[in-house]
């Protein structure tokens, strides 16, 4: 859809296609080089892919051990009791197992996908009505396969940088960002934080956005 309007897409895109390290096509060297700088988040994504592709219970066990205590913490901080939080975590973990076939590592790291599932479930429960969620994008399976490896690596690189940026912030700023994403802030407070504390990591989020934007565009064009 975008490629039919060449001028428009050039104007919108700060870099021409092909200048992204992870998007140079099916270049194996990129993937190999990047998989050498493995990180924790990368492992989580591999576990989730193993759950999806092989119904791997050991990999699910690792996801469970990593995410359950953090999801519980997040839900409690956004206002739920311990018991209610565990009920939501149960639903989230079982949704991960049952809907793993919908997971697409070219568009989300494991933690991002799980974060979304947790929010959806938490809000369904709190409001007692389904949370409005965007329609799924309809993408041909083939175009998905050719993109996964490179795109997943490039998302991982962005996430590593984002985590480093967060870790080096003064504690007060880091706290506000944590509180915003954990769900402790109101919409008005998030707006204010977006102008102030978030300013320092905004550029990192925007770089991640560039990658995701390209990924969606590539998927649409195939």
């Amino acid at each position: 859809m975008f490629n039919t309007m060449t001028i428009g897409s050039d104007l919108k895109s700060p870099l021409p296609q092909g200048m992204w390290p992870g998007h140079s096509g099916k270049n194996m060297n990129d993937s190999v080089a990047a998989s050498e700088q493995r990180s924790e988040g990368c492992e989580q994504t591999e576990w989730l892919v193993a759950v999806r592709d092989h119904r791997d219970k050991a990999a699910f066990g690792r996801l469970y051990d990593h995410f359950t205590p953090r999801l519980k913490g997040m839900l409690i901080r956004s206002g739920m009791s311990g018991a209610a939080a565990e009920d939501v975590v149960q639903d989230v973990m079982l949704t991960i197992w049952r809907k793993a076939d919908l997971y697409d590592e070219s568009r989300a790291r494991a933690s991002a996908w799980i974060y979304r599932i947790a929010r959806n479930r938490q809000i369904d429960v709190i409001r007692r009505r389904p949370r409005p969620v965007p329609d799924e994008m309809v993408i041909e399976a083939e175009s998905r396969e050719t993109h996964d490896a490179d795109a997943a690596v490039s998302l991982e690189q962005e996430a590593v940088q984002l985590r480093e940026a967060l870790a080096t912030l003064p504690k007060s700023q880091r706290d506000i960002i944590e509180r915003a994403y954990v769900g402790e802030l109101t919409q008005a407070e998030i707006r204010e934080a977006t102008g102030l504390a978030l300013g320092t990591i905004k550029s990192r989020i925007r770089l991640a956005l560039e990658k995701l934007r390209h990924e969606l565009r590539d998927l649409r064009d195939e």
Partner: protein
């Protein structure tokens, strides 16, 4: 099709991702993202950041009982969930899910203007509006935030022109008169955090009756 030029502001996408947005505004965000790849990418970037925060959060110990419940559930055979509603005509699936049907239940407001209230709670309300071509929406100002997403046709006001997929974000201080474009009737999804205040007498009298 005209490209979408009025997108969701960053803080609104972030608030949605974090679950801090009321139902009515969440509906506008979900409906717009269904139409707009740019904002879909923005939402995915926010979720990437949310995921990074989640994976580095301090752990809170979970009970053994929870572990048992989850692992017992793995082999359970569950009926597949019904498929999510699909886009029907001008209405994305997110909106179909909210309406519970493919067509809005319109109520006439007079002058050819129609509305269908979708939800109303203490945090805000969401409705569909149908404005005949060239017709003005009564001059109104706000107490709070108003989001208006175009689904069909177009409208314009003091702040610009809005076509299909565009979102107008109107703040407390905006006093505006949206006018539907010529051609097709303008159908839009509007969400407000508070009842609108109309600046002329008649609509103000009608307000309690029609919940405009």
């Amino acid at each position: 099709m005209k490209e979408i030029t009025h997108h969701l502001p960053e803080w609104l996408v972030r608030s949605y991702a974090a679950g801090s947005l009321g139902h009515a505004f969440s509906l506008v965000v979900a409906t717009h993202v269904s139409q707009c790849d740019e904002c879909r990418a923005r939402l995915e970037a926010e979720e990437l950041a949310g995921g990074v925060v989640l994976e580095t959060l301090e752990a809170v110990e979970a009970s053994d009982d929870l572990r048992a419940r989850v692992f017992d559930g793995l082999d359970e055979i569950v009926a597949p969930a019904p498929p999510a509603p699909q886009k029907a005509g001008i209405y994305p699936g997110a909106l179909i899910a909210e309406m519970g049907s493919d067509t809005p239940r319109w109520r006439s407001l007079g002058g050819g203007i129609r509305q269908a209230i979708l939800s109303a709670d203490k945090e805000g309300s969401a409705r569909l509006l149908y404005i005949p071509p060239g017709m003005a929406v009564p001059d109104h100002s706000h107490t709070g935030l108003e989001l208006t997403l175009v689904l069909q046709g177009s409208f314009s006001d003091e702040t610009g022109e809005y076509g299909v997929g565009d979102v107008e974000v109107a703040e407390d201080d905006l006093d505006h008169t949206p006018i539907a474009g010529m051609g097709e009737a303008c159908i839009c999804l509007a969400a407000t955090s508070a009842p609108l205040k109309f600046n002329s007498l008649l609509p103000r009298l009608l307000q309690p009756i029609f919940r405009i």
